[in-house]
């Protein structure tokens, strides 16, 4: 009897700790480690970008929610590499999934559009100045 009680108690405890405290809402897929590695080895940039991409793919493939900030972080990484068109796709996804991000994402999408327009010197000249010069 007593061992059974102990087992039951342990099972209840395990259940509580699993569902009451330790459960995570999102599939982070190592987002924090990816950031840490990026800061530790900034020269391994490709790995960082690939990890962000992997986090998004894994979360989407399982029908889960891509954690807050991950679409945007990936979009930013693409933007920094001059891949503005691809970046916009992810800024839009962040904006759609997380409405709190909308004002910032709209700003980033506008910036990306400016970076795309003068292809030779991305983002070097504000778009307003470029347009003014053309007229």
């Amino acid at each position: 009897m007593r061992p059974l009680h102990m087992l039951a108690a342990l099972a209840v405890l395990a259940g509580l700790s699993q569902f009451g405290c330790a459960q995570t809402m999102y599939r982070w897929g190592g987002y924090d480690e990816a950031l840490y590695d990026h800061y530790k080895n900034p020269q391994k940039r490709d790995e960082y970008v690939a990890k962000l991409s992997g986090i998004i793919e894994a979360a989407e493939a399982n029908g889960g929610v891509v954690p807050p900030g991950c679409y945007a972080e990936y979009g930013w990484a693409l933007y920094e590499e001059g891949r503005a068109t691809e970046a916009v796709v992810y800024f839009e996804k962040e904006s759609k999934r997380w409405p709190e991000s909308r004002p910032l994402m709209e700003k980033l999408i506008r910036n990306a559009a400016r970076a795309k327009a003068p292809a030779a010197t991305p983002a070097a000249v504000p778009a307003s100045a470029v347009e003014g010069g053309k007229k």
């Binding site: 924090d32 945007a72 709190e100 910032l104």
Partner: protein
């Protein structure tokens, strides 16, 4: 009986009432939290970025939208704010307006050190966390966490201790301690954050004292959860 006692003890540990005043945080009711780069008072120059990487996950897991920390850091650098202490000295309302955030979390590393003794290595971390309102700039919440880990001879005897010290000497690993400090700081009930809008228990887990002011002005109460989103 034994089982009941164990459960009661666990329930008591979990239901420990929060000791701080949540009135301001509850009435501000932020949805979207900006985490800006960390001010580093330690001599380890890498600590700020390393610690920054640990903050998003536990905060988002409390049910808030957390702005992507690396994007934020890089955008601030582009705005001429590469120095974290400059960012921390900036008006919270201005920072939040730049990103569309409801509140901003300022984190400071007070200690991030390893002390090497003959056979033990003592690793110490200490952090201050302050959340400020994105409209008024008022402080909504704060916490302080510290942790000390010493590799000692309790487990593996002298040889084990020496081995542990050597391992620690090669690369003292601060990250588990940093994560533990964050987990303690953000746990609720505890010193941390009541559930944010993405958790099912949002607005249902509040201490009675913090709920009272909201109930006192019933005309505003139903509109309050939407209020932060309105200016966007």
């Amino acid at each position: 009986m034994k089982r009941l006692l164990v459960l009661a003890a666990l329930a008591a540990a979990c239901a420990q009432p929060p000791k701080k005043d949540y009135a301001k945080l509850v009435s501000s009711n932020p949805r979207a939290i900006l985490v800006v780069p960390v001010v580093n008072k330690s001599v380890d120059v890498d600590a700020a970025d390393y610690f920054l990487s640990t903050l998003s996950v536990p905060l988002a897991e409390r049910g808030y939208y957390v702005f992507p920390v690396n994007l934020v850091k890089r955008m601030l650098e582009d705005e001429g704010m590469a120095d974290a202490s400059l960012v921390h000295g900036t008006d919270p309302a201005r920072l939040c307006a730049l990103f569309g955030a409801d509140a901003v979390l300022f984190v400071t590393i007070e200690q991030w050190t390893a002390k090497y003794m003959l056979i033990t290595t003592q690793v110490t971390v200490e952090f201050n966390y302050v959340l400020k309102d994105g409209r008024t700039g008022e402080e909504l919440w704060r916490d302080h966490e510290a942790g000390v880990y010493a590799s000692d001879s309790a487990g593996g005897g002298l040889a084990g201790a020496i081995a542990a010290a050597i391992v620690a000497k090669a690369a003292p690993n601060y990250m588990p301690m940093a994560r533990q400090a964050n987990a303690r700081a953000m746990a609720y009930p505890g010193p941390g954050f009541p559930a944010g809008p993405y958790r099912p228990e949002h607005r249902k887990d509040l201490p009675a004292a913090a709920e009272a002011p909201a109930a006192a002005k019933p005309a505003q109460a139903p509109a309050a959860p939407q209020a932060p989103a309105a200016p966007k």
